[in-house]
Protein backbone atom coordinates (compact mmCIF):
# COMPACT_ATOMS: atom_id res chain seq x y z
CA UNK A 1 0.00 0.00 0.00
CA UNK A 2 1.84 3.03 -1.21
CA UNK A 3 -0.70 5.62 -0.19
CA UNK A 4 -0.40 7.24 3.21
CA UNK A 5 -3.09 6.62 5.78
CA UNK A 6 -4.76 9.93 5.23
CA UNK A 7 -4.83 9.50 1.47
CA UNK A 8 -6.44 6.14 1.85
CA UNK A 9 -9.20 7.57 3.98
CA UNK A 10 -9.84 10.18 1.34
CA UNK A 11 -9.84 7.58 -1.41
CA UNK A 12 -12.71 5.74 0.15
CA UNK A 13 -14.93 8.80 0.24
CA UNK A 14 -17.29 10.46 -2.26
CA UNK A 15 -19.69 7.68 -3.19
CA UNK A 16 -16.91 5.76 -4.88
CA UNK A 17 -18.45 2.40 -4.08
CA UNK A 18 -21.84 3.36 -5.34
CA UNK A 19 -20.33 4.59 -8.58
CA UNK A 20 -18.14 1.51 -8.86
CA UNK A 21 -21.22 -0.66 -8.41
CA UNK A 22 -22.96 1.05 -11.31
CA UNK A 23 -19.85 0.88 -13.45
CA UNK A 24 -19.31 -2.81 -12.73
CA UNK A 25 -22.93 -3.73 -13.44
CA UNK A 26 -22.73 -1.91 -16.78
CA UNK A 27 -19.37 -3.42 -17.66
CA UNK A 28 -20.39 -6.97 -16.78
CA UNK A 29 -23.76 -6.62 -18.49
CA UNK A 30 -22.01 -5.60 -21.68
CA UNK A 31 -19.67 -8.60 -21.49
CA UNK A 32 -22.05 -11.29 -20.19
CA UNK A 33 -25.35 -9.97 -21.48
CA UNK A 34 -27.97 -7.72 -19.99
CA UNK A 35 -30.30 -10.73 -19.69
CA UNK A 36 -28.12 -11.86 -16.76
CA UNK A 37 -28.65 -8.61 -14.90
CA UNK A 38 -29.91 -10.25 -11.70
CA UNK A 39 -26.89 -12.55 -11.45
CA UNK A 40 -24.60 -9.66 -12.27
CA UNK A 41 -26.07 -7.48 -9.54
CA UNK A 42 -25.65 -10.31 -7.03
CA UNK A 43 -22.03 -10.83 -8.06
CA UNK A 44 -21.29 -7.11 -7.72
CA UNK A 45 -22.88 -7.07 -4.27
CA UNK A 46 -20.77 -10.10 -3.32
CA UNK A 47 -17.63 -8.31 -4.40
CA UNK A 48 -18.55 -5.33 -2.26
CA UNK A 49 -19.14 -7.50 0.79
CA UNK A 50 -15.85 -9.32 0.17
CA UNK A 51 -14.06 -5.98 0.15
CA UNK A 52 -15.75 -5.15 3.43
CA UNK A 53 -14.40 -8.34 4.96
CA UNK A 54 -10.87 -8.01 3.61
CA UNK A 55 -9.91 -4.38 3.30
CA UNK A 56 -10.12 -3.50 7.00
CA UNK A 57 -7.14 -5.81 7.63
CA UNK A 58 -4.86 -5.65 4.63
CA UNK A 59 -5.70 -2.13 3.56
CA UNK A 60 -7.40 -0.67 0.54
CA UNK A 61 -5.88 -1.80 -2.77
CA UNK A 62 -4.40 0.83 -5.04
CA UNK A 63 -6.83 0.10 -7.85
CA UNK A 64 -10.10 -0.51 -6.06
CA UNK A 65 -12.15 -0.75 -9.21
CA UNK A 66 -9.92 -3.41 -10.78
CA UNK A 67 -9.94 -5.40 -7.54
CA UNK A 68 -13.72 -5.28 -7.16
CA UNK A 69 -14.31 -6.03 -10.82
CA UNK A 70 -12.06 -9.06 -10.73
CA UNK A 71 -13.85 -10.47 -7.69
CA UNK A 72 -17.26 -9.77 -9.20
CA UNK A 73 -16.29 -11.42 -12.48
CA UNK A 74 -15.03 -14.52 -10.71
CA UNK A 75 -18.21 -14.78 -8.67
CA UNK A 76 -20.34 -14.36 -11.73
CA UNK A 77 -18.45 -17.04 -13.64
CA UNK A 78 -18.75 -19.39 -10.66
CA UNK A 79 -22.47 -18.91 -10.59
CA UNK A 80 -22.92 -19.25 -14.31
CA UNK A 81 -20.88 -22.46 -14.27
CA UNK A 82 -22.91 -23.88 -11.47
CA UNK A 83 -26.15 -23.13 -13.25
CA UNK A 84 -25.42 -23.80 -16.90
CA UNK A 85 -23.27 -25.66 -19.31
CA UNK A 86 -20.09 -23.89 -20.24
CA UNK A 87 -21.27 -23.64 -23.84
CA UNK A 88 -23.85 -21.18 -22.65
CA UNK A 89 -21.17 -19.06 -21.14
CA UNK A 90 -20.03 -18.40 -24.65
CA UNK A 91 -17.19 -16.12 -25.41
CA UNK A 92 -17.08 -14.53 -21.99
CA UNK A 93 -16.04 -17.86 -20.53
CA UNK A 94 -12.93 -18.21 -22.60
CA UNK A 95 -11.91 -14.62 -22.15
CA UNK A 96 -12.05 -14.52 -18.41
CA UNK A 97 -11.44 -17.97 -17.11
CA UNK A 98 -8.38 -18.90 -19.11
CA UNK A 99 -6.00 -16.25 -17.93
CA UNK A 100 -5.63 -13.12 -15.95
CA UNK A 101 -8.27 -10.64 -16.86
CA UNK A 102 -6.84 -7.41 -18.09
CA UNK A 103 -7.40 -5.24 -15.05
CA UNK A 104 -7.21 -1.97 -16.86
CA UNK A 105 -10.46 -0.50 -18.03
CA UNK A 106 -10.08 2.83 -19.65
CA UNK A 107 -12.22 5.56 -18.23
CA UNK A 108 -13.83 6.19 -21.60
CA UNK A 109 -14.70 2.54 -21.93
CA UNK A 110 -16.40 2.47 -18.53
CA UNK A 111 -18.31 5.64 -19.34
CA UNK A 112 -19.45 4.14 -22.64
CA UNK A 113 -20.73 1.02 -20.87
CA UNK A 114 -22.73 3.16 -18.47
CA UNK A 115 -24.10 5.16 -21.35
CA UNK A 116 -25.23 1.98 -23.11
CA UNK A 117 -26.85 0.85 -19.88
CA UNK A 118 -28.67 4.17 -19.59
CA UNK A 119 -30.07 3.76 -23.10
CA UNK A 120 -31.26 0.28 -22.13
CA UNK A 121 -32.90 1.48 -18.89
CA UNK A 122 -34.66 4.32 -20.71
CA UNK A 123 -35.71 2.14 -23.64
CA UNK A 124 -39.32 2.70 -24.75
CA UNK A 125 -40.09 -0.94 -23.86
CA UNK A 126 -39.52 -0.17 -20.17
CA UNK A 127 -42.56 1.33 -18.39
CA UNK A 128 -41.98 5.05 -18.05
CA UNK A 129 -42.58 5.09 -14.31
CA UNK A 130 -39.84 2.51 -13.68
CA UNK A 131 -37.14 4.03 -15.86
CA UNK A 132 -35.83 6.36 -13.17
CA UNK A 133 -35.67 3.63 -10.53
CA UNK A 134 -34.05 1.19 -12.95
CA UNK A 135 -31.43 3.76 -13.94
CA UNK A 136 -30.70 4.59 -10.31
CA UNK A 137 -30.31 0.92 -9.47
CA UNK A 138 -28.25 -0.36 -12.38
CA UNK A 139 -26.28 2.68 -13.54
CA UNK A 140 -26.18 4.58 -10.27
CA UNK A 141 -25.49 1.74 -7.85
CA UNK A 142 -28.30 2.81 -5.52
CA UNK A 143 -29.83 0.13 -3.34
CA UNK A 144 -33.53 -0.64 -3.27
CA UNK A 145 -33.72 0.82 0.21
CA UNK A 146 -32.01 4.06 -0.85
CA UNK A 147 -34.37 4.50 -3.78
CA UNK A 148 -37.33 3.81 -1.52
CA UNK A 149 -36.13 6.39 0.98
CA UNK A 150 -35.67 9.01 -1.70
CA UNK A 151 -39.19 8.43 -2.93
CA UNK A 152 -40.71 7.78 0.47
CA UNK A 153 -41.95 4.55 -1.04
CA UNK A 154 -42.26 1.07 0.30
CA UNK A 155 -39.15 -1.07 -0.31
CA UNK A 156 -41.24 -3.98 -1.56
CA UNK A 157 -42.98 -1.73 -4.02
CA UNK A 158 -39.66 -0.51 -5.44
CA UNK A 159 -38.28 -4.05 -5.55
CA UNK A 160 -41.34 -5.26 -7.44
CA UNK A 161 -41.13 -2.35 -9.83
CA UNK A 162 -37.50 -3.19 -10.57
CA UNK A 163 -38.28 -6.87 -11.06
CA UNK A 164 -40.97 -6.00 -13.58
CA UNK A 165 -38.70 -3.55 -15.39
CA UNK A 166 -35.89 -6.14 -15.62
CA UNK A 167 -38.35 -8.71 -16.93
CA UNK A 168 -39.28 -6.25 -19.65
CA UNK A 169 -35.60 -5.74 -20.43
CA UNK A 170 -35.23 -9.49 -21.00
CA UNK A 171 -38.50 -10.06 -22.82
CA UNK A 172 -38.05 -7.17 -25.19
CA UNK A 173 -34.47 -8.14 -25.98
CA UNK A 174 -33.30 -4.65 -25.22
CA UNK A 175 -29.74 -4.26 -26.41
CA UNK A 176 -27.02 -2.38 -24.60
CA UNK A 177 -26.00 -0.20 -27.46
CA UNK A 178 -25.56 3.35 -28.60
CA UNK A 179 -28.65 3.83 -30.77
CA UNK A 180 -28.24 4.21 -34.51
CA UNK A 181 -28.13 7.76 -35.76
CA UNK A 182 -31.66 7.50 -37.16
CA UNK A 183 -33.14 7.07 -33.69
CA UNK A 184 -30.39 8.70 -31.65
CA UNK A 185 -32.17 12.01 -31.07
CA UNK A 186 -35.32 10.36 -29.74
CA UNK A 187 -33.41 7.93 -27.55
CA UNK A 188 -31.20 10.68 -26.11
CA UNK A 189 -34.33 12.70 -25.37
CA UNK A 190 -35.75 9.73 -23.50
CA UNK A 191 -32.61 9.50 -21.36
CA UNK A 192 -32.60 13.24 -20.71
CA UNK A 193 -36.24 13.08 -19.66
CA UNK A 194 -35.40 10.39 -17.14
CA UNK A 195 -32.51 12.46 -15.77
CA UNK A 196 -34.82 15.48 -15.57
CA UNK A 197 -37.32 13.44 -13.55
CA UNK A 198 -34.53 12.06 -11.37
CA UNK A 199 -33.26 15.55 -10.62
CA UNK A 200 -36.73 16.94 -10.01
CA UNK A 201 -37.59 14.13 -7.64
CA UNK A 202 -34.57 15.15 -5.62
CA UNK A 203 -35.12 18.85 -6.02
CA UNK A 204 -38.79 19.59 -5.76
CA UNK A 205 -39.18 16.71 -3.41
CA UNK A 206 -42.80 15.76 -3.33
CA UNK A 207 -41.76 13.45 -0.52
CA UNK A 208 -38.82 11.50 0.85
CA UNK A 209 -35.78 11.98 3.03
CA UNK A 210 -33.70 15.04 2.34
CA UNK A 211 -30.31 13.35 2.28
CA UNK A 212 -31.38 10.70 -0.19
CA UNK A 213 -33.16 13.16 -2.41
CA UNK A 214 -30.04 15.28 -2.74
CA UNK A 215 -28.18 12.20 -3.88
CA UNK A 216 -30.66 11.92 -6.74
CA UNK A 217 -29.81 15.47 -7.85
CA UNK A 218 -26.10 14.81 -7.90
CA UNK A 219 -26.51 11.46 -9.61
CA UNK A 220 -28.55 13.16 -12.35
CA UNK A 221 -25.73 15.69 -12.75
CA UNK A 222 -23.09 12.97 -12.93
CA UNK A 223 -24.98 11.01 -15.57
CA UNK A 224 -25.81 14.12 -17.57
CA UNK A 225 -22.13 15.07 -17.66
CA UNK A 226 -21.32 11.54 -18.75
CA UNK A 227 -23.54 12.01 -21.80
CA UNK A 228 -22.25 15.52 -22.41
CA UNK A 229 -18.69 14.20 -22.65
CA UNK A 230 -19.54 11.57 -25.26
CA UNK A 231 -18.51 12.77 -28.70
CA UNK A 232 -21.32 11.08 -30.63
CA UNK A 233 -24.21 11.25 -28.19
CA UNK A 234 -23.65 14.72 -26.77
CA UNK A 235 -25.66 17.62 -28.12
CA UNK A 236 -26.17 21.25 -27.12
CA UNK A 237 -29.34 20.37 -25.19
CA UNK A 238 -27.38 17.88 -23.08
CA UNK A 239 -25.06 20.67 -22.00
CA UNK A 240 -28.07 22.90 -21.38
CA UNK A 241 -29.64 20.31 -19.10
CA UNK A 242 -26.37 19.90 -17.19
CA UNK A 243 -26.23 23.70 -16.77
CA UNK A 244 -29.82 23.76 -15.50
CA UNK A 245 -29.07 21.02 -12.96
CA UNK A 246 -25.91 22.74 -11.76
CA UNK A 247 -27.58 26.12 -11.20
CA UNK A 248 -30.44 24.48 -9.32
CA UNK A 249 -28.14 22.30 -7.26
CA UNK A 250 -26.12 25.36 -6.25
CA UNK A 251 -29.18 26.55 -4.32
CA UNK A 252 -29.90 23.23 -2.63
CA UNK A 253 -28.18 24.04 0.70
CA UNK A 254 -30.31 27.14 1.17
CA UNK A 255 -33.68 25.74 0.14
CA UNK A 256 -34.46 24.13 3.47
CA UNK A 257 -33.86 25.35 6.99
CA UNK A 258 -32.37 23.41 9.87
CA UNK A 259 -35.80 22.04 10.73
CA UNK A 260 -36.42 20.92 7.16
CA UNK A 261 -38.73 23.86 6.49
CA UNK A 262 -38.98 25.36 3.05
CA UNK A 263 -37.08 28.61 2.39
CA UNK A 264 -38.32 30.59 -0.58
CA UNK A 265 -36.00 31.96 -3.24
CA UNK A 266 -36.71 35.54 -2.16
CA UNK A 267 -35.27 35.02 1.31
CA UNK A 268 -32.56 32.43 0.65
CA UNK A 269 -29.10 33.41 1.87
CA UNK A 270 -27.36 33.83 -1.47
CA UNK A 271 -23.93 33.86 0.13
CA UNK A 272 -24.47 30.16 0.79
CA UNK A 273 -25.19 29.26 -2.80
CA UNK A 274 -22.50 26.93 -4.07
CA UNK A 275 -20.22 29.13 -6.20
CA UNK A 276 -18.33 26.20 -7.67
CA UNK A 277 -21.55 24.67 -8.99
CA UNK A 278 -22.65 28.00 -10.45
CA UNK A 279 -19.30 28.38 -12.23
CA UNK A 280 -19.62 24.84 -13.53
CA UNK A 281 -23.14 25.67 -14.68
CA UNK A 282 -21.90 28.68 -16.61
CA UNK A 283 -19.32 26.51 -18.38
CA UNK A 284 -22.03 24.08 -19.50
CA UNK A 285 -24.37 26.92 -20.45
CA UNK A 286 -21.60 28.32 -22.62
CA UNK A 287 -21.08 24.92 -24.26
CA UNK A 288 -24.82 24.62 -24.86
CA UNK A 289 -24.72 27.73 -27.01
CA UNK A 290 -22.74 26.00 -29.76
CA UNK A 291 -24.77 25.00 -32.79
CA UNK A 292 -28.27 25.95 -33.82
CA UNK A 293 -30.26 23.93 -31.38
CA UNK A 294 -32.60 25.66 -28.94
CA UNK A 295 -34.34 23.33 -26.51
CA UNK A 296 -36.63 23.82 -23.53
CA UNK A 297 -33.61 22.95 -21.42
CA UNK A 298 -31.74 25.94 -22.87
CA UNK A 299 -34.47 28.34 -21.80
CA UNK A 300 -34.91 26.76 -18.38
CA UNK A 301 -31.15 26.90 -17.88
CA UNK A 302 -31.14 30.59 -18.74
CA UNK A 303 -33.84 31.32 -16.16
CA UNK A 304 -31.86 29.37 -13.58
CA UNK A 305 -28.73 31.29 -14.57
CA UNK A 306 -30.51 34.62 -14.15
CA UNK A 307 -31.49 33.69 -10.60
CA UNK A 308 -28.05 32.31 -9.81
CA UNK A 309 -26.32 35.48 -10.96
CA UNK A 310 -28.65 38.06 -9.40
CA UNK A 311 -27.03 39.87 -6.48
CA UNK A 312 -30.29 39.76 -4.54
CA UNK A 313 -33.93 38.96 -5.18
CA UNK A 314 -34.87 42.56 -6.01
CA UNK A 315 -32.21 42.90 -8.70
CA UNK A 316 -33.37 39.76 -10.57
CA UNK A 317 -33.66 40.46 -14.28
CA UNK A 318 -37.45 39.90 -14.27
CA UNK A 319 -38.09 41.22 -17.78
CA UNK A 320 -35.71 38.59 -19.20
CA UNK A 321 -37.21 35.89 -16.97
CA UNK A 322 -40.67 36.76 -18.28
CA UNK A 323 -39.32 36.73 -21.82
CA UNK A 324 -37.85 33.26 -21.28
CA UNK A 325 -41.12 31.87 -19.95
CA UNK A 326 -42.86 33.47 -22.93
CA UNK A 327 -40.42 31.69 -25.25
CA UNK A 328 -41.21 28.40 -23.55
CA UNK A 329 -44.93 29.01 -23.85
CA UNK A 330 -44.58 29.79 -27.54
CA UNK A 331 -42.89 26.42 -28.04
CA UNK A 332 -45.47 24.44 -26.11
CA UNK A 333 -48.07 25.81 -23.71
CA UNK A 334 -47.84 24.50 -20.18
CA UNK A 335 -49.98 25.77 -17.32
CA UNK A 336 -47.10 25.17 -14.90
CA UNK A 337 -44.75 27.36 -16.95
CA UNK A 338 -47.54 29.92 -17.15
CA UNK A 339 -47.73 29.93 -13.36
CA UNK A 340 -44.01 30.65 -13.23
CA UNK A 341 -44.40 33.43 -15.76
CA UNK A 342 -47.14 35.03 -13.68
CA UNK A 343 -44.96 34.89 -10.56
CA UNK A 344 -42.27 36.79 -12.45
CA UNK A 345 -44.86 39.29 -13.65
CA UNK A 346 -46.00 39.78 -10.08
CA UNK A 347 -42.47 40.56 -8.99
CA UNK A 348 -42.02 43.05 -11.82
CA UNK A 349 -45.45 44.70 -12.14
CA UNK A 350 -46.97 44.15 -8.73
CA UNK A 351 -49.57 41.80 -7.24
CA UNK A 352 -52.67 43.25 -8.92
CA UNK A 353 -51.34 42.40 -12.38
CA UNK A 354 -50.41 38.88 -11.24
CA UNK A 355 -53.83 38.30 -9.67
CA UNK A 356 -55.62 39.19 -12.88
CA UNK A 357 -53.52 36.69 -14.81
CA UNK A 358 -53.94 34.05 -12.11
CA UNK A 359 -57.68 34.48 -12.38
CA UNK A 360 -57.70 33.36 -15.98
CA UNK A 361 -55.09 30.63 -15.46
CA UNK A 362 -57.25 29.29 -12.63
CA UNK A 363 -59.79 28.17 -15.19
CA UNK A 364 -57.33 25.56 -16.46
CA UNK A 365 -58.44 22.17 -15.17
CA UNK A 366 -54.94 21.23 -14.00
CA UNK A 367 -54.71 24.25 -11.73
CA UNK A 368 -57.72 23.48 -9.52
CA UNK A 369 -55.92 20.66 -7.78
CA UNK A 370 -52.38 22.10 -8.02
CA UNK A 371 -51.21 23.18 -4.57
CA UNK A 372 -48.63 25.65 -5.89
CA UNK A 373 -51.29 27.50 -7.84
CA UNK A 374 -53.30 28.20 -4.68
CA UNK A 375 -50.17 29.07 -2.72
CA UNK A 376 -49.08 31.54 -5.39
CA UNK A 377 -52.55 33.01 -5.48
CA UNK A 378 -52.54 33.41 -1.69
CA UNK A 379 -49.09 35.00 -1.80
CA UNK A 380 -50.16 37.76 -4.17
CA UNK A 381 -53.48 38.24 -2.37
CA UNK A 382 -51.52 38.96 0.82
CA UNK A 383 -49.30 41.41 -1.06
CA UNK A 384 -52.45 43.04 -2.33
CA UNK A 385 -53.85 43.36 1.19
CA UNK A 386 -56.63 40.81 0.68
CA UNK A 387 -55.92 38.63 3.71
CA UNK A 388 -59.31 36.97 3.99
CA UNK A 389 -59.23 35.78 0.40
CA UNK A 390 -55.63 34.69 0.90
CA UNK A 391 -56.64 32.49 3.83
CA UNK A 392 -59.25 30.84 1.66
CA UNK A 393 -56.61 30.13 -1.00
CA UNK A 394 -54.22 28.65 1.54
CA UNK A 395 -57.01 26.43 2.81
CA UNK A 396 -57.63 25.26 -0.72
CA UNK A 397 -53.90 24.55 -1.12
CA UNK A 398 -53.89 22.40 2.02
CA UNK A 399 -56.30 20.02 0.34
CA UNK A 400 -53.69 19.10 -2.25
CA UNK A 401 -50.28 19.40 -0.55
CA UNK A 402 -48.34 16.14 -0.36
CA UNK A 403 -45.06 17.61 0.83
CA UNK A 404 -44.53 18.08 4.56
CA UNK A 405 -42.23 21.16 4.44
CA UNK A 406 -44.65 22.93 2.12
CA UNK A 407 -47.56 22.04 4.39
CA UNK A 408 -45.70 23.54 7.34
CA UNK A 409 -44.89 26.63 5.33
CA UNK A 410 -48.54 27.12 4.50
CA UNK A 411 -49.84 26.59 8.03
CA UNK A 412 -47.27 29.09 9.33
CA UNK A 413 -48.48 31.63 6.80
CA UNK A 414 -52.05 30.98 7.86
CA UNK A 415 -51.21 31.53 11.51
CA UNK A 416 -49.56 34.84 10.58
CA UNK A 417 -52.77 35.81 8.85
CA UNK A 418 -54.68 35.16 12.05
CA UNK A 419 -56.08 31.73 11.31
CA UNK A 420 -56.62 29.70 14.45
Amino acid sequence: MAASGEDRVRETMDHLFRQHAGQMVSLLARIFGIDKLDLIEDAVQDAMVTALKKWPYGGVPDNQFAWLTQVAKNRLIDRLRRGRSSAELGEADGVFIAGETPAIHFEGEIAEDQLRMMFACCHPAIPADSQVALTLKTVGGFSVSEIARAYLANEDAIAKMLTRAKKKLRESDVEMEIPASSSLTLRVDAVLRVLYLMFNEGYSASAGELLFRRELCFEAIRLCKLIARHSVVSAPRVNALAALFLFQAARLPTRTGSGGELILLSVQDRRNWDKALITDGLIYLHRSASGHELSDYHIEAEVAAIHSLAEDFASTDWPRVIECYGLMQARKFSPVVELNRIVAIGHLDGPAKALTELDSLGKHYLMTSFDLFHITNAHFLVENGENRKALASYRRALEFIRNEPIRRHVTERMTLLGDH
Binding site: G5, E6, T12, F17, Q45, M48, L52, W55, P56, G58
Partner: protein, 117 residues
Protein backbone atom coordinates in the same frame (compact mmCIF):
# COMPACT_ATOMS: atom_id res chain seq x y z
CA UNK B 1 5.91 -0.78 25.61
CA UNK B 2 4.52 -4.18 24.78
CA UNK B 3 2.83 -5.73 21.80
CA UNK B 4 -0.75 -6.81 21.92
CA UNK B 5 -2.80 -9.06 19.72
CA UNK B 6 -6.37 -8.14 18.91
CA UNK B 7 -8.14 -11.31 17.85
CA UNK B 8 -11.34 -10.37 16.10
CA UNK B 9 -13.87 -13.08 16.86
CA UNK B 10 -17.02 -13.75 14.96
CA UNK B 11 -18.53 -12.22 11.97
CA UNK B 12 -20.03 -8.96 12.96
CA UNK B 13 -23.59 -8.34 11.84
CA UNK B 14 -24.74 -9.55 8.46
CA UNK B 15 -23.42 -7.10 5.88
CA UNK B 16 -24.74 -8.90 2.83
CA UNK B 17 -27.69 -6.61 2.29
CA UNK B 18 -25.84 -3.32 2.84
CA UNK B 19 -25.84 -0.89 -0.05
CA UNK B 20 -22.51 -0.08 -1.75
CA UNK B 21 -22.73 3.36 -0.17
CA UNK B 22 -23.10 1.88 3.31
CA UNK B 23 -20.34 -0.68 2.71
CA UNK B 24 -18.01 2.12 1.75
CA UNK B 25 -18.86 3.93 4.96
CA UNK B 26 -18.08 0.88 7.11
CA UNK B 27 -14.76 0.26 5.35
CA UNK B 28 -14.01 3.94 5.85
CA UNK B 29 -14.47 3.53 9.61
CA UNK B 30 -12.06 0.59 9.77
CA UNK B 31 -9.51 2.39 7.61
CA UNK B 32 -9.80 5.53 9.72
CA UNK B 33 -9.21 3.47 12.85
CA UNK B 34 -6.15 1.62 11.53
CA UNK B 35 -4.75 4.73 9.81
CA UNK B 36 -4.83 6.63 13.06
CA UNK B 37 -2.95 3.84 14.82
CA UNK B 38 -0.49 3.70 11.97
CA UNK B 39 0.08 7.45 12.15
CA UNK B 40 0.72 7.17 15.88
CA UNK B 41 3.20 4.38 15.25
CA UNK B 42 1.10 1.92 17.21
CA UNK B 43 0.05 -0.44 14.45
CA UNK B 44 2.32 -3.44 14.00
CA UNK B 45 0.16 -5.24 11.45
CA UNK B 46 -3.09 -6.93 10.68
CA UNK B 47 -4.33 -9.75 8.52
CA UNK B 48 -7.57 -11.33 7.52
CA UNK B 49 -7.89 -15.06 8.07
CA UNK B 50 -9.88 -17.15 5.63
CA UNK B 51 -13.52 -17.68 6.46
CA UNK B 52 -13.33 -21.45 5.95
CA UNK B 53 -12.59 -22.10 9.61
CA UNK B 54 -9.26 -23.80 8.86
CA UNK B 55 -8.31 -27.13 10.40
CA UNK B 56 -8.22 -28.34 13.97
CA UNK B 57 -5.32 -30.58 14.83
CA UNK B 58 -5.05 -32.68 17.95
CA UNK B 59 -3.32 -35.74 19.40
CA UNK B 60 0.16 -36.94 19.13
CA UNK B 61 1.87 -39.98 17.79
CA UNK B 62 -0.70 -42.65 17.01
CA UNK B 63 -3.63 -40.53 18.08
CA UNK B 64 -3.15 -37.64 15.64
CA UNK B 65 -6.43 -36.18 14.41
CA UNK B 66 -7.23 -33.54 11.88
CA UNK B 67 -10.68 -32.09 11.39
CA UNK B 68 -12.38 -29.10 9.85
CA UNK B 69 -12.47 -26.05 12.02
CA UNK B 70 -15.63 -24.41 13.18
CA UNK B 71 -17.75 -23.20 10.33
CA UNK B 72 -18.14 -19.52 9.72
CA UNK B 73 -21.87 -19.93 10.26
CA UNK B 74 -21.46 -20.78 13.92
CA UNK B 75 -19.55 -17.57 14.39
CA UNK B 76 -16.71 -19.10 16.35
CA UNK B 77 -13.98 -18.43 13.87
CA UNK B 78 -11.42 -15.70 14.28
CA UNK B 79 -11.96 -13.39 11.32
CA UNK B 80 -8.57 -11.76 11.55
CA UNK B 81 -6.15 -10.03 13.83
CA UNK B 82 -4.38 -6.76 14.45
CA UNK B 83 -1.15 -6.36 16.35
CA UNK B 84 -0.55 -3.08 18.15
CA UNK B 85 1.94 -1.63 20.59
CA UNK B 86 0.61 -0.17 23.80
CA UNK B 87 1.70 0.83 27.25
CA UNK B 88 -0.20 -1.83 29.12
CA UNK B 89 -3.65 -3.42 28.94
CA UNK B 90 -5.38 -0.14 29.69
CA UNK B 91 -4.07 1.57 26.60
CA UNK B 92 -4.49 -1.56 24.49
CA UNK B 93 -8.10 -1.78 25.61
CA UNK B 94 -8.62 1.83 24.68
CA UNK B 95 -7.28 1.09 21.21
CA UNK B 96 -9.45 -1.99 20.81
CA UNK B 97 -12.48 -0.17 22.12
CA UNK B 98 -12.53 2.17 19.13
CA UNK B 99 -12.33 -0.67 16.63
CA UNK B 100 -15.49 -0.67 14.45
CA UNK B 101 -15.62 -4.44 14.85
CA UNK B 102 -17.24 -3.95 18.27
CA UNK B 103 -19.70 -1.39 16.95
CA UNK B 104 -20.94 -3.95 14.42
CA UNK B 105 -21.50 -6.70 16.93
CA UNK B 106 -18.18 -8.56 16.84
CA UNK B 107 -16.08 -9.59 19.83
CA UNK B 108 -12.39 -8.84 20.35
CA UNK B 109 -9.98 -10.94 22.38
CA UNK B 110 -7.03 -8.91 23.61
CA UNK B 111 -3.77 -10.71 24.44
CA UNK B 112 -0.38 -9.37 25.38
CA UNK B 113 2.43 -10.97 23.44
CA UNK B 114 5.09 -12.47 25.68
CA UNK B 115 8.43 -11.03 24.64
CA UNK B 116 10.98 -13.67 23.66
CA UNK B 117 13.77 -12.20 25.76
Amino acid sequence: MAEYMLLLHEEPQDFSQLSPEAIQAVIGEYVAWSSKLEAEGKLVGGQKLKDDGGRQLSGWDGDFRISDGPFAEVKEVIGGYFAVTADGYDEASEIARDCPHLKYGGRIELREIEPTS
